[in-house]
């Protein structure tokens, strides 16, 4: 920005400067147009001047001897009109409408010409602007004639045109300048709006600190605000995660103590409670730690992951089945992807009574579908169930375990692997959940 030192940094300054420039441009432009138009006096003035010249010269010549008249006529000539004295009329009066009109104009301009003999001869020039080449002969009182040859300049159309054109170009220039400045203003504003729209969706959005000074300040403040929000979130997340980890030791004690309880029923209830709390902690930590998962992405067999999840469920005596490809590699973090699959299978078994997994390849996508035959999810709530801590009312009534993070975590995991989660109610009843990932 060094060479633009004079360019103001503030928004107000920029707008003022542009307005000032526009006004100056307009001023200079119109002065030039005005100067131009003064060179071309209008028709009435030209006619009056010519009539005046003719009458004045006539009066002078009438009062001097005939011998001196040619010389004096020449002396009275000027650039606008040439005067010639002659004893007889050298001009035939042509009785056309142009001549009549001019005769009337002459007589209106100079009342002294009303009762005098005038011969007119007007020829329209061929070149543009079509000036009138005029010859007027005045009969002096002694019967001799004084002829004026002059030119009535045509109405300056070209000048008119060029002045309109100039004004138009001037206007365009001002509009263009204003548009440039406005663009300079609106681009950073639009970037800001887009960035603000993206905040909180996933990644950190930084906007370029460009544009007018004030906008630069806005961008800077916006970025700083984001940093603060991210910092706050991180601090909260870290605190929650720390509590989560710290809770594991007392939970470990509780679980071991449960082992010493003699009453079998009480012991089993205690162990179930500890299991439930552990599951909640696990899902909370998975949800919080999702962004900073240190697990590396690697080429992973999606089929083997799905089979392992199904086999575990089968071993626990639950109705799960796997049908599909034996191998289908994807690029993913295997531990978190397995968590996603088992969350979905767990949901299907819990709400849908069974989990039927199919793995297919659809073009470039690996599609792992988990179907159940339960009640499905009301269409209106299909999007909401992905929100963190959201639980369907019917589910809450069943007093289920968990924090309502299961699907949110699955979506988070898939999103990080470049995949999507699709929930559909099956026409024949039950829910179909698709985990779609780019296949390798």
């Amino acid at each position: 920005m060094k060479p633009w030192r004079l360019w103001p940094q503030r928004l107000g300054g920029q707008v003022t400067l542009v307005l000032m420039l526009a006004v100056a441009l307009e001023f200079i432009g119109s002065s030039i147009l005005f100067e131009n138009s003064r060179i071309y006096p209008n028709r009435d003035n030209q006619v009056r001047r010519a009539a005046e010249q003719l009458v004045t010269a006539g009066n002078i010549l009438e009062n001097i001897p005939a011998a001196e008249r040619p010389a004096r006529a020449a002396a009275l000539s000027n650039r606008g009109g040439r005067l010639v004295w002659s004893p007889q009329s050298a001009l035939v009066d042509r009785e056309r409408s142009a001549e009549h009109k001019l005769k009337d104009e002459f007589r209106d301009a100079e009342p002294g010409l009303r009762d005098r003999d005038l011969h007119f001869n007007a020829e329209l020039g061929h070149a543009l602007p079509r000036d009138t080449h005029l010859k007027v002969a005045l009969r002096l009182r002694d019967g001799t004639w004084l002829t004026l040859k002059t030119r009535i300049r045509a109405a300056p159309w070209a000048v008119l045109l060029s002045s309109v054109g100039s004004a138009f170009i001037l206007g365009l220039g001002v509009i263009a300048a204003a548009a440039l400045v406005l663009r300079n203003l609106s681009r950073p504003l639009r970037a800001l709006a887009e960035a603000a729209d993206k905040v909180g969706q996933d990644a950190h959005v930084r906007i370029g600190e460009t544009g007018a000074g004030d906008l630069k300040l806005v961008a800077k403040a916006f970025n700083a605000m984001q940093d603060r929000i991210a910092g706050l979130l991180r601090a909260r997340t870290d605190a929650l995660a720390a509590v989560g980890h710290d809770l594991r030791t007392p939970l470990a004690r509780l679980r071991l103590r449960a082992g010493f309880v003699k009453d079998v029923e009480a012991r089993e209830a205690l162990e179930a409670d500890v299991d439930e709390m552990t599951a909640m902690l696990d899902s909370l930590l998975a949800y919080l730690g999702g962004q900073e998962d240190p697990e590396p992405r690697r080429r992973t067999d999606l089929a083997a992951l799905a089979m392992t999840v199904v086999d575990d469920a089968v071993d626990a005596g639950r109705p799960a089945a796997y049908d599909g490809l034996d191998h289908l590699p994807v690029q993913a973090r295997p531990v978190s992807l397995k968590r996603a699959i088992s969350n979905i299978v767990e949901n299907a078994l819990h709400y849908g009574g069974e989990a039927n997994l199919t793995l297919t390849r659809e073009g470039a996508a690996a599609v792992l579908a988990v179907e159940d035959s339960g009640p499905g999810i009301p269409e209106a709530e299909l999007a909401e169930v992905l929100q963190p801590f959201h639980r369907l009312d019917s589910a809450r009534a069943r007093n289920t375990a968990g924090l309502g993070l299961g699907l949110t975590i699955v979506q988070q995991i898939l999103h990080r692997e470049g995949g999507v989660l699709v929930l559909k109610n099956r026409p024949e009843g039950g829910l179909r959940v698709e985990l779609r990932l780019p296949a390798l």
Binding site: D246, A252, R255, G259, T308, D311
Partner: protein, 242 residues
């Protein structure tokens, strides 16, 4: 419970006093001889004066953490180590196993789970089974596949990570450590359940068929794990160790 004639000594290294007391009581009830330390220095003192059969090592300790201690112990001892951690994540588990720990248990663990794992590891250490569970990074390859017992990982010929359940991995390890030899169902059952003795009673046949499906590459798996009627199975491929 059939324990060894001499009660095995187990050293607990855990900074939480209540959990330490609980573990002591539990191990004593199960017929072990427990010792306990609250931090690394105390552990070192106890190791000098006692013969220890197994160390239960917490990861989060004041001063030097469990990973540091694990590395230090491994420098001059092969004593089995079981890491206990509040962080149940894969990276920690891998670090622990790569540093030479024999197992890794995430908190909270149940009494049953803990005792089962301790027994399994003691059995492995006693039974001269050192060869069946090679420590460290000794990778094994067969028919293009590679198996890393340290990281408990199986990679397919095209380098894809293939997830195996604990029992499946142990079964495959049993095959790979005794290749081209018929292994009876009883022996396989024993070997594959070494790790999780509380596993449900799925049969070896089910495990083998699951393993075959995961190893299936253009019908090669059937030939890889051949059924020997009425006896058991034969792992046909040659195994290379690296």
């Amino acid at each position: 419970m059939a324990t060894a004639p001499l009660a095995p000594t187990i050293l607990i290294v855990e900074d939480d006093p209540a959990l330490r007391t609980l573990l002591m009581r539990l191990l004593r009830e199960e017929g072990f001889q427990p010792l306990s330390a609250g931090h690394g220095a105390e552990m070192a003192r106890l190791l000098e004066t006692n013969t220890v059969d197994l160390i239960l090592l917490d990861v989060m300790l004041p001063g030097s953490n469990g990973f540091d201690l694990c590395r230090a112990i491994r420098r001059d001892s092969e004593v089995p180590i079981v890491m206990l951690s509040a962080r149940d994540d894969e990276t920690d588990r891998l670090i622990g196993l790569e540093l030479g720990a024999d197992d890794y248990i995430g908190k909270p663990f149940s009494k049953k789970e803990l005792i089962a794992r301790i027994r399994a590891i003691l059995r492995r250490a006693q039974g001269g089974a050192q060869s069946s569970q090679p420590r460290g990074h000794q990778q094994m390859t067969f028919a293009g596949w590679s198996l890393d017992p340290g990281r408990r990982e199986l990679l397919s010929p095209d380098g894809t990570f293939v997830e195996l359940s604990g029992a499946e991995f142990d079964l495959l390890l049993a095959f790979v450590t005794s290749p081209q030899r018929v292994i009876g169902r009883e022996r396989l059952l024993e070997m594959s359940r070494a790790r999780f003795s509380d596993a449900s009673d799925r049969s070896i046949d089910v495990l083998v068929s699951r393993l075959r499906r995961k190893l299936a590459v253009t019908g090669q798996a059937e030939a890889l794990l051949r059924t020997v009627r009425g006896v058991g199975y034969l792992f046909t491929a040659a195994v290379e160790r690296r």
